[in-house]
Symmetry: C2
Subunit: 110 residues, 2 copies
DNA sequence: AATATTAATCGTATATTTGCGATATAATTA
DNA sequence: TAATTATATCGCAAATATACGATTAATATT
């Protein structure tokens, strides 16, 4: 491949793709659900629920944290995760907008 | 890795992830925009606009076709692509619902 | 202090994705 | 009919992603 061409696209296209990528694996979708529903958000609880090893879950959490969808706080030996609602809604809106904008010119094709 | 664990998640989680994956690359986001805006939807036009080789664009188109977001019709030597609006809106709704449902339990965490 | 628990990170194996050139196929044009 | 055009597909190389066990570091428990 030589090198990735992602950077050659428009900023909004890159942003949409990046957020979509964050929820492009069932494990991360599941994690977001668990974290949103849970009161405590302890990493160990997520591991219990998912069919994945602790290290793998930790990696997925890291990815979600990197795009900003969740926040992580160290709480003693444990780690507490929670949804970053501001970011969460921003992503929701961004995707919504993409679908709306794209579907606005719904004529004359084919 | 031995093998993928994607199948071990819930159907709706897998579905959301699959559609998110379809728009998880800027090239495919760009293609969807071009196809939606274009009247003609000829593959060659898409290739002209994108910073990618013809074969690469063809592959991305194939992926979008496979998840059902676009339809492709052979028109002589050319190929005509257009958005499958039914699928498009279904995906839009599915993602929307995911974000809404997830954010409905927005309390007591962390 | 010694041990156990929790979770991040490292190293590694494998799988998947991305990207391209070359080729194949089919239709169009000269 | 020959040359050109349009696009899909094949085969390959490189990049990324997925998954795990082992290790580490830090706190908690005994």
């Amino acid at each position: 491949m030589a090198f990735s061409k992602k950077a050659e696209f428009k900023d909004d296209e890159i942003a949409i793709a990046a957020f979509a990528k964050a929820i492009s694996h069932p494990a991360r979708v599941a994690i977001l659900k668990v974290v949103a529903e849970s009161q405590s958000c302890i990493c160990g609880q997520i591991v219990e629920v998912l069919p994945l090893a602790q290290s793998t879950v930790s990696q997925h959490l890291k990815e979600l944290k990197e795009v900003g969808l969740i926040d992580g706080t160290v709480d003693g030996a444990k780690s507490c995760y929670c949804i970053n609602w501001t970011a969460f809604e921003k992503v929701s809106q961004m995707l919504n907008q993409f679908f709306e904008k794209t579907s606005c010119c719904k004529d004359g094709c084919c």
